[in-house]
């Protein structure tokens, strides 16, 4: 700065520096803010993606550990079964001769051998799939014994054990008092022991040896089914009642005989099986023939069907997968299928078996099938030593192993972190990381033949009280619910908001406009939880009570408003002009209660005329013909047709003639036209409805169906409250931004306000109106509280206005707090969040593109 500079110049320069600083600071702040926002959005996206990504990883296996020597006694027949505890410290093996061996898996040492049935050896055995379930054994004398073989865990204090046990490191284990002690990651000493209890003994049939047995534990009782050597095939149900006073359990056994004796011409069945509910009993022959006994009425069993499970070849193994509903069937050529009962012939038909999945065939006969106790995972070993894990819901092969020996017995431990296989000499262990095989992209987005479904379907049912439940993680019903919520809300909200915006910006004076606008904006301040609460607890029951009147209001309110408008036209000129101010406004307001009142009056009339006297019954499909509902639905379309017809037929003819008429004459003619049009409309709708009915069309089953109290209509209404203010405000802004010289130009050319609005203002404001709609749509898509409270949250895919739905957002809100962190369910919920993210992102992008397109059309030229 030169000393000669005048003070004024210097001052100027200083100011400028401050301004530059301010400018720099502002632009830095704005840049930081902008980048920060983008970064935050990206971070959220990456976080979601990070949580989700493990479901795309495939399972891994680590090379097998083999355990040989004393641990595995050489036996000529494969053992009945084998079990492993959840820490994989101990394994029990029930040998074919009835000896129960306990082996320390760390050392391979046999810790104990016991004979729970004394000298007897079972001739048949059935084991539960889940941990802690009972097992049933049949004996040569025809008796049946129930036993429970399970691992028990107990925590030990340091002073209860010996020195070398105290010194155990985390993860290490030592033998202790017939069991094994291990130190858990939390530092506790945990003792795992085997508990064997032989429970009840039953005599079911004859005294011939039991050749096969199965059992089921269901809420209806404990079920047993046995097949004896002489062909006697019985099912028994044991009801256990515990006396609360004495603590004693009394058992009552009833039985049903399916076959008294063997058919001398026929071979005996290879296996008999009973489903987990004790409702179906299957007998399977070597050639794949299956008899399906329906035991739903226990005393009156029905041979529901006979079918062949195999294409060619012989039955190798048949077993239930977890849940004991789906049968896994394997043949001696390495083929594997699953079958389950489903009501193939419709809701009311009896369940019959249907082929669910065909799995990748193996290279040789199937030797063993073993379901996982926890999930729909099935271990399969083949005669060549090949062993695979399959996901049975989806039919995916998870893991494939090669073993040099044939594995005759397989075990999936409770934590599903390994696969154990036993050959005649050795015990093999493979460490497996299974990950999330039930949550593949196919499972999430494709229809799946879930257990019990007649057809592959999109279905969401993520959790249940029981362990053996099949998770159904189809996200499509939730996406559908989101779309349904959005569509119905927009149907109610969007026209209202846009018309209101047009009305205020084009027809109201500036002063009124400001107050109306701020009032509507006040609506936006209602918390959505309040809206949802009111919708669910006040509106929903109310609407159900006054359903006929409510539905009628959709017709009577527009009719009342139109009637009011025509009557207004009939006013003498001087009155019409003098009353163009608040009086007209008041008149418009008055038509509303009139319309509602009319709805209350005609509601019951509609109900008896169109809906056979009871709307809900009609919707249910129980009563009435299709005509009424079709007529009701056709009214808007018929109105449109009538207006167009009148416009194109009557309009040009009357234009010339009416040129000389006075205003009053025109008004009278128009009112006549309105009355006539209404009659025409009714006629058109009635004729169309009649024709459609004759053609067999029934709206029930489509957009109209059984009424559920919390439904899309209610949500549409409540959500309308949430989206109307947003759409209204933005659309109003867009309309007000239309240059006034365009409006004036149109008005000066003699256009009415409405013509100006439709022809000039709205097209010009289109980009703004469109983005208003899109932002409203975005709000509706992401809205959670209202749908959570008012939508009923049933994940069904059904356009019925009177039924509920479950949206992605409500689903995440409901289930995330309960989901086990890191589980497939948890990660699937994050996929749902990601899908929602993509939906809103795509919507916004689309909105921006269309907006630019409109804007470009308006301005770029």
């Amino acid at each position: 700065m030169s000393p000669e500079t005048t003070p004024r110049a210097r001052r100027n320069r200083k100011t400028r520096r401050a301004a530059i600083l301010g400018e720099r600071f502002a632009s830095a702040a704005i840049t930081a803010g902008g980048i920060g926002t983008i970064l935050a959005v990206c971070l959220i996206f990456f976080f979601l993606a990070w949580v989700v990504h493990p479901i795309f990883l495939s399972p891994t296996v680590q090379a097998g550990d083999e355990l040989s020597g004393a641990a595995v006694a050489e036996v000529d027949r494969a053992p009945w079964s084998m079990g492993v505890d959840e820490d994989r410290l101990l394994a029990w093996t029930l040998q074919h001769d009835g000896a129960l061996e306990l082996v320390d898996l760390a050392t391979g040492l046999r810790l104990s051998v016991q004979r729970p049935f004394g000298d007897e050896s079972p001739t048949a055995a059935s084991f539960g799939i889940g941990t802690g379930e009972r097992a049933a054994f049949g004996f040569a004398d025809g008796s049946v014994r129930v036993a429970r073989i399970e691992f028990l865990a107990d925590f030990l204090k340091d002073d209860e054990v010996s020195e070398d046990v105290i010194g155990l490191e985390v993860g290490a284990s030592a033998v202790h008092e017939g069991g094994v002690v291990g130190r858990t990651p939390t530092g506790q000493l945990r003792l795992t022991t085997l508990s064997v209890e032989v429970l009840e003994r039953y005599e079911l049939g004859t005294d011939a040896p039991v050749v096969d047995i199965d059992h089921a534990e269901s809420p209806a009782g404990f079920f047993l089914t046995t097949l004896q050597e002489d062909g006697k095939f019985v099912v028994a149900r044991v009801r256990e009642r515990r006396n609360l006073m004495t603590g004693k359990t009394t058992r009552s056994l009833v039985q049903t005989v399916l076959r008294e004796s063997a058919d001398p011409l026929l071979e005996a069945p290879r296996e008999i099986l009973m489903d987990g509910l004790g409702q179906s009993v299957y007998a399977v022959w070597k050639d794949g023939r299956l008899e399906h006994w329906d035991m739903r009425v226990f005393d009156a069993p029905v041979l529901r069907e006979e079918l062949s499970l195999l294409e060619e070849g012989e039955l190798a193994r048949v077993r239930f997968v977890t849940g004991k509903k789906t049968l896994a069937v394997a043949d001696d050529r390495g083929n594997l299928w699953t079958w389950f009962p489903a009501r193939v012939g419709g809701e009311d038909s009896d369940p019959t078996l249907r082929l669910a999945r065909r799995f990748e065939p193996g290279d040789s006969a199937v030797v063993a099938l073993q379901p996982s106790p926890r999930s729909r995972t099935l271990a399969v070993s083949y005669a060549s030593g090949l062993t695979r894990l399959f996901q049975t819901t989806l039919g995916d092969k998870l893991v494939e192993l090669e073993c040099e020996e044939v594995l005759t017995t397989l075990v999936i431990p409770p934590k599903e972190d390994a696969l154990l296989g036993r050959s005649s000499q050795r015990l093999w262990t493979w460490e497996i990381e299974k990950r999330y095989p039930e949550a593949t992209l196919t499972a999430l987005f494709r229809p799946i033949p879930y257990e019990g479904f007649a057809e592959p379907e999109h279905f969401w049912a993520s959790s249940s009280a029981s362990d053996d439940f099949e998770p159904q993680l189809g996200l499509m019903p939730l996406v559908f619910g989101t779309i349904k919520a959005t569509v119905y809300s927009m149907i109610f909200g969007a026209p209202l908001a846009i018309l209101a915006a047009i009305y205020t910006s084009e027809f109201l004076s500036k002063r009124l406009r400001a107050s109306v606008k701020s009032t509507v904006e006040l609506m936006a301040s209602l918390p959505s939880v309040v809206l949802g609460f009111i919708a669910a607890l006040v509106l929903a029951p109310l609407v159900q009570d006054i359903l006929p009147a409510f539905l009628s209001a959709f017709l009577t309110v527009p009719f009342a408003i139109l009637t009011g408008a025509y009557l207004w036209q009939m006013l003498p000129d001087h009155l019409a002009i003098r009353w163009a101010g608040w009086q007209r406004f008041l008149a418009i307001f008055l038509t509303l209660p009139l319309g509602v009142g009319a709805a209350v009056v005609v509601g019951p009339l509609f109900e008896s005329l169109l809906f056979a006297g009871e709307v809900e019954g009609w919707l249910d499909g129980r009563i009435g013909s299709a005509f009424g509902g079709t007529f009701f639905l056709l009214v808007p379309a018929a109105a449109l047709v009538t207006v167009l017809l009148m416009g194109s037929v009557l309009g040009p003819r009357m234009r010339e003639r009416s040129a000389t008429w006075t205003r009053a004459q025109v008004a009278r003619f128009e009112s006549l036209k309105f009355v006539g049009g209404t009659l025409v409309l009714i006629a058109v709708a009635a004729v169309l409805a009649f024709l459609l009915q004759a053609a067999g069309f029934d709206p029930r089953g489509g957009v109209l169906d059984t009424y559920v109290q919390r439904n899309a209509l209610i949500v549409g209404f409540a959500m309308g409250f949430a989206i109307v203010p947003i759409i209204y405000t933005l659309a109003e802004d867009a309309l007000s931004e239309v240059p006034s010289q365009l409006r004036e130009g149109s008005l000066a050319a003699g256009a009415t306000t409405w013509q100006t609005a439709v022809r000039i203002v709205i097209p010009f404001a289109m980009s703004g109106i469109f983005s208003a709609l899109m932002i409203g749509l975005g709000r509706a898509v992401g809205e959670t509280m209202i749908v959570l409270m008012a939508a009923g949250n049933t994940a069904i895919m059904d356009w019925n206005v009177f039924n509920g739905f479950r949206t992605l957002s409500a689903n995440v809100a409901v289930e995330l707090p309960e989901a086990v962190v890191g589980s497939a369910h948890y990660r699937t919920l994050f996929v749902a969040a990601l899908v929602l993210f993509f939906m809103t992102f795509a919507l916004n992008t689309l909105a921006e593109m269309v907006r630019r397109h409109f804007r470009g059309r308006m301005h770029a030229l």
């Binding site: 004076s509 500036k510 002063r511 000129d573 001087h574 002009i577 309009g651 040009p652 234009r655 205003r663 240059p739 010289q741 365009l742 004036e744 130009g745 149109s746 008005l747 000066a748 050319a749 003699g750 256009a751 009415t752 013509q755 022809r759 000039i760 097209p763 010009f764 059309r857 308006m858 301005h859 030229l861």
Partner: protein, 322 residues
């Protein structure tokens, strides 16, 4: 660019404009003294400080209306018209008649109420909530502000072109036939014919005939303004109101519009607001000079420019103030 008018000018506007302009530069000193005019205008009262001050103080005076303008058949008659924006009076007791088939110019410094008067004729002021009026305006004898007048019908009889070109965001064709469209005309032939004749009338036909379906917004400013004129004359109005139609245009476009207005003379009655003296002198038959919401002098353009009765008018038309 060659002009191709459907209408032939009655006389060369250029020649007249030049003649007037040169006459104005050789200013004659022999003017009617102000006091004399005032005395004639207002019975015997003297106004120290001049007419403008007198108007500014809100004192009553009688505008000077040349006898020639009173004889023509009037299309628009303004009769004792007052207009208020809220509490501010913008027009004071205006009485003037716009002769049929002629071009009448409204001149005056900006803010004197020219636009307000013009917008009163087609009741565009109704759009402003605070406007209040008193007095009468008649269009071909029909009262405009009478009870029971349908504003929409009234506006259909009047064409208006605004200061800034305001083509609608639609095709050229649709712009021109807009008034027919809103009347519900669907007949293609009628529409095509109206479009062509209006565009020819506005001297735009040759420039746009090959791109009628293109957006009107793609036209240049001058073309847009002529399109607006075409749009206005497509409705075959009884009177055409032009509010400073050239103020947003460059000189060449201005020239074209001026030529066009000249051509419209005789076919349409035109009321044009301008504050460009040259323009007023070139295009109009009659000129009204307004000041602070009052009509000051109204007469044939030639006499108003060459021999104004009032010194104030002379001062204004010669550009000594304003």
């Amino acid at each position: 660019m060659e002009r191709d008018h459907a209408l032939t000018p009655k006389r060369s506007s250029d020649a007249r404009g030049v003649a007037l302009a040169s006459a104005m530069t050789e200013r004659t000193e022999s003017r009617t003294p102000l006091i004399a005019t005032l005395e004639r205008a207002e019975t015997g009262r003297t106004r120290p400080g001049g007419l403008f001050e007198c108007i500014a103080e809100g004192r009553v005076f009688e505008p000077v209306i040349h006898d020639e303008v009173a004889t023509d058949e009037a299309v628009v008659e303004v009769d004792g018209f007052d207009l208020w924006y809220g509490d501010t009076q913008a027009l004071h007791d205006i009485s003037l008649s716009v002769p049929k088939g002629k071009v009448t110019a409204l001149i005056g410094p900006s803010g004197c109420g020219k636009s307000t008067l013009l917008r009163s004729v087609n009741r565009m002021n109704d759009l402003i909530d605070s406007v209040r009026i008193d007095g009468q305006i008649r269009l071909s004898g029909d009262s405009i502000y009478g009870r029971g007048v349908d504003v929409i019908e009234l506006r259909k009889r009047i064409g208006m072109v605004f200061q800034k070109p305001n083509p609608f965001p639609m095709s050229i064709y649709e712009n021109v036939v807009y008034s027919l469209r809103i009347d519900g005309v669907r007949d293609r032939f009628t529409l095509d014919e109206a479009c062509e004749s209006s565009l020819r009338g506005a001297g735009l036909w040759d420039e746009v005939k090959d791109r009628l379906q293109n957006s009107a917004l793609a036209l240049s400013g001058g073309q847009q303004q002529r399109l607006c004129i075409a749009r206005a004359i497509a409705a075959e109005p009884e009177v055409l109101l032009l509010d400073e139609p050239c103020s947003a245009l460059d000189p060449i476009a201005t020239g074209k519009i001026e030529d066009l207005i000249d051509d419209l003379e005789g076919l349409y009655s035109v009321l044009i607001v301008t504050h460009n003296m040259q323009q007023a002198s070139r295009v109009s038959d009659n000129t009204a000079f307004m000041y602070l919401g009052r009509l000051v002098e109204y007469g044939p353009t030639e006499s108003l420019f060459l021999s104004p009765r009032l010194k104030e008018t002379e001062d204004y038309v010669t550009g000594r103030f304003g």
